[in-house]
C-alpha cells in the first residue's frame, strides 16, 4: 500500500514515515502544501494523510483542489483543532476522515486501513461472514453455526461495522463515530461494555472466539490467528 504523508513538522513526519514503513507500507513525505499537492496529483497513492495547517497551502484547500481535479484518493486530515465544527469543515472540504492531534498511532493506522479498503475494496456485500458467524444485512439475521442469535438493533449495527472491517483493527472512537454517530470522547469505558455484551452473545459457549481485543488499539473480529 502506498501512502503520502503531508506534514510540515519534521519530527512527527519522520515518526509517521518510520511507523508506517514498519507495518509494511510504502510512505512518501511532502513537507508543504504545494509539494503535497503536486505529489498527490501525480502519484498513485492509496491514502493521503494530510496535516491541516501547512505552509504555502493549507490542508483543506489542498484537498479541495484535488477533488476539483477529479482525484478521489481517500484523505485523512490530522489537526490540532479537534472540535466538532472543525471536523465538519474538514469533511465538507472533501476529507474522508478526521483525526485530532494528539492521536495514538494505532488509531491512525486503523483509520488508514479502513480508508484504503473503502477505496479499492469490493462493492458492499449483503452478507458478511467471519468463520462460522454470518450476518445478513437485509433480513437482519445473525447466526453462528446452526444457532440463531438474537441481537438488539444497536448490537446488530455494532457487529455489522466490526464484520464489515473484519480482520482490521477498529478503535473505540471509530465505533462511537460510526455506530453511534457521536464525536465526543466519553470519560468512561462505555464502548467496552457494549463490546463485552456483544461478545457474550456471539462468542460465549463457542470454542473459537471471534471478537478479539487488541491491546492499546481497539477490537477486531477475525477467524483464528492471522
Amino acid at each position: 500500500m502506498r501512502l503520502l504523508i503531508i506534514e510540515d513538522d519534521r519530527e512527527s513526519a519522520d515518526y509517521l514515515v518510520k511507523a508506517f514503513r514498519e507495518v509494511g507500507y510504502v510512505a512518501d513525505l511532502a513537507s508543504d502544501g504545494e509539494e503535497g499537492l503536486a505529489l498527490a496529483d501525480s502519484g498513485d497513492y492509496d491514502v493521503l494523510v494530510i496535516d491541516r495547517m501547512l505552509p504555502k497551502r493549507d490542508g483543506l484547500s489542498l484537498i479541495g483542489t484535488l477533488r476539483e481535479k477529479g482525484n478521489r484518493t481517500p484523505a485523512l486530515i490530522l489537526s490540532a483543532l479537534g472540535q466538532v465544527d472543525d471536523r465538519i469543515k474538514g469533511l465538507r472540504a472533501g476529507g474522508d476522515d478526521y483525526l485530532p492531534k494528539p492521536y495514538a498511532f494505532a488509531e491512525l493506522l486503523a483509520r488508514v486501513e479502513v480508508l484504503s479498503r473503502r477505496h479499492g475494496g469490493p462493492a458492499e456485500e449483503t452478507t458478511y461472514r467471519v468463520g462460522d458467524l454470518e450476518l445478513d444485512r437485509l433480513s437482519h439475521r445473525v447466526a453462528r453455526g446452526k444457532d440463531e442469535l438474537t441481537l438488539q438493533p444497536r448490537e446488530f449495527r455494532l457487529l455489522e461495522y466490526l464484520m464489515k472491517h473484519a480482520g482490521q483493527v477498529v478503535t473505540r472512537t471509530m465505533l462511537l463515530e460510526n455506530v453511534w454517530d457521536y464525536h465526543f470522547d466519553p470519560q468512561t469505558n462505555v464502548i467496552d461494555v457494549h463490546i463485552s455484551r456483544l461478545r457474550s452473545k456471539i462468542d460465549k459457549g463457542f470454542e473459537r472466539p471471534l471478537l478479539h481485543t487488541i491491546r492499546g488499539a481497539g477490537y477486531m473480529i477475525r477467524d483464528g490467528i492471522r
Binding site: 466538532v84 465526543f184 470519560q187 468512561t188
Partner: protein, 490 residues
Amino acid sequence: MTAFGKLVRTTAFRLTLVYLLLFALFAASLLGYFAWNTRRLITEQITTTVNAETGEISDIYGRRGLHGLVLTIENRALRPGANLYLVTTPTGQAVAGNVGALAPGVMATTGWSETAYRRLDEQDDTDHRALVRVTELPSGFRLLIGRDLEERRRLFGIVAQAAQWSVLIVVVLGLGGGVFVARRVLRRIDAMTGTTQRIMAGDLSGRLPVGRSGDELDRLAENLNAMLERIEALMMGLKEVSDNIAHDLKTPLTRLRNRAEEALAKSGNEAEYRTALERTIEESDGLIRTFNALLMIARAESGQARDNMDDFDAADVAQGIQELYEPLAEDDGMSLHVKTVPAPLHGNRELISQALANLVENAIKYGKPVAVAQPLGADAVAGGDARAILIEARRDGDQVLLSVSDHGPGIPPSDRKHAVERFVRLEASRTQPGSGLGLSLASAVATLHGGELRLGDAHPGLQATLAIPALPGAGDRLAAQTPDVPQKAA
C-alpha cells in the same frame, strides 16, 4: 498639561464659550435694534413737530406779515427748552431768532439738514447739533426751525452703554459659569481617571465614585462599576482556573514523570518496561481528555460553536444517550431509564449529547444510594428503584428540559453553585476518578444555547437539568398532539 489648559479643554467649557458668544450676539443685536428704533422714533417726532410749527409760522407770516412773524419768533424763542428759530433776509442777515451761529451754507438750501449750531444766549464755545428745516417765505425771507439733537444723542448713549454693560455681564457670568461647571465636571472626571489608573495598575477591586444626583456621569460610573464587577469576576475565575489547571494537570504530569523515572531506574526486563510504558500512555490519554474538555468548555463559553446548530428533538438525544449508557449503568449495578415527550429545540446536537452524557456519567459514578439508613422517604425508593437513574426530556413552557435524576447522596443546596465550576470535585467525590469538568461543560453548553444548568433535589438524590429554550412554534404543535402520556422507550 496645566490645570488651566485642562479646564479650557473640557467639553463643558467649550460649550460655555459657544453659548457665551451666541448670547452676547443676541444681546447686542437686541439692543442695537432697540437703539436704532428709538433714534428713528425721536427723529420722526422732531420732524413732525418742526413740520407743524413751520406750517403754523408760515401761516402767521401770511396773515400778519414780517412784523407778526418776528414777534411770534421772538416770543417763542424765549420759552424754556424752546426749538431753534431763525429768520433771515434774502441776503442772509438775521432778523429774529435764538440761533447765534450756524454751519455755513445751511440757510442757502431749503429742506432738512443736520447741522452744528450755537444759541444766542450761550456763552461757551461748544457746538451742539440740531436737525433743522429751512423754508423760503414768499417774500424771499428764509425761515429756519429746528430741534436740538442732544436728547436723541443722550438716549442713544444710554442704550449704547446698556449694550456694553449687558455684553460685559453676559461675558463675565458666562465665563464664570463655564469655569464652575467645567471644574465640577473635571473634578469628577479626574476622580474617575484616578480610579481607572489605579485599576489599570492592578487593583481590580477599585470602584468609581458614584454621586447621589443620578445624572449622566453617575449613570456612566454605575455602568463602568458593573463592568468592573464582571471583569473582576472573570479574572477571579480565570485565576482559579489557572490554579486548578496547574494543580490538575501538574499532578498527573508529575506522576507520569515519576513512573518513567522509576521504570528507567529499576525495571530489569521487557515486561516491566512494557507495563510502565502502557501506564504512561494511559496517563497521557487522561491528560489529553482533560485538555479536550477544557477546550470544549472554552469554545462553548466563547460562543464559537453557534455555527453548527440545527433543529432536532431532545427526546432523540435522551434516548440515544440512554441506549449508549444503559449497559454501563447495568454493569455498575444501576439501571438507566428514559422518559420522553417530543421536545424540539435548535442547537448543537453534538454538544447537547455530550452535556447529557456527562450528567449520566456523573449519575452512574456518584448516584449510588448511601448505605446509611435514611429517614422516611428513602423507603419509597428503596430496593431496585433506589439504583435507578432516570433521563427525562420534556417541555416546560418555552423551555426544553433534559434532566438526569439519581437517588444518590445529591449535592447540598449550598454546594450547588460551586459544583458547576471548573475542576471542582466535591469532597464526596474526591476519591473517584474524573476530571471535575463534567458539570462545567454541561453548564457551558446550556449557557451557549441561552439556557442554564439547574441542580436540584430528586428527594433523595440529585436532579441535574439542562434547561434550554425550545424551538419556537413547532414545539407547541407537537406538545398539543402528545398529551401528557410519557413514552416509555427503554
